[in-house]
């Protein structure tokens, strides 16, 4: 079983990150379509979805399965077709993290960003079973920040 380890996008990591295109943008940011997925060493399990032409703007993202091992999102057929996904291994899932000050962070499990690993096309998908999950699922943040 090698499914759990085949992790990277197909293009080797450029220092600047993996380009990811969201033709429909993120909800509320429909006009921004080009992003870079940046994983900095030492920041695991977090990564950044950075606005390509504005390095100052970014979203913190995390693998939702790290947050909730039982996460079981249903991706609607229209989105499967839009992204050209043939099976689950074609896709990477990222959930957007909201950092509320230093002591609280939440993860959006209703609307993950689904990326086709081969084409790098992505979409923020409202999962069919969104009612089962929170848009502000709490992350267990350490009380004492060293």
């Amino acid at each position: 079983m090698k499914c759990a380890e085949s992790i990277e996008l197909e293009t080797p990591a450029a220092p600047a990150g993996h380009p990811v295109r969201l033709p429909m943008g993120l909800l509320g940011f429909e006009q921004i379509k080009d992003y870079l997925l940046v994983a900095n060493p030492g920041e695991e399990p977090f990564a950044w979805l950075r606005v390509e032409d504005n390095a100052a703007l970014a979203f913190v993202v995390i693998d939702p399965f790290v947050v909730l091992p039982d996460y079981n999102p249903d991706i609607p057929p229209a989105d499967v077709e839009f992204l050209g996904l043939k099976n689950a291994n074609d896709a990477l899932l990222l959930s957007i993290v909201t950092v509320h000050g230093t002591s609280q962070a939440t993860v959006n499990l209703k609307g993950p960003v689904v990326i086709n690993r081969h084409t790098h096309t992505a979409k923020q998908v409202i999962i069919t079973n969104a009612a089962q999950y929170s848009v502000q699922h709490p992350l267990p943040v350490a009380d004492n920040v060293a």
Binding site: V60, Y71, D74, P77
Partner: protein
Amino acid sequence: MLILSRKPGESIVIDGHIRVKVMRLEGDVVKLGIEAPVTVPVHRQEVYEEIQRSNQQALTKQSSPLPKLAGAVKPSTAAKPPVSPAKKMNLSKP
């Protein structure tokens, strides 16, 4: 906006293939039945708004500090990129 009057049991048809039927009235709640092809996503508007608000709140500067996670979440080891394949995701076939 097009405004139509319908009674319980009556329907409207959108684009020849989406049917919205008024099932019943319960006080100030209208129960709607929606028949649409699987390729047409149907969600309550609040879900879109909730995710929009969440995205707007989440937008940050890349220099912002990241939270430190408590033990309950096991960060991936350094050798592992922070992204794993969606092994448990269900792709609904069109």
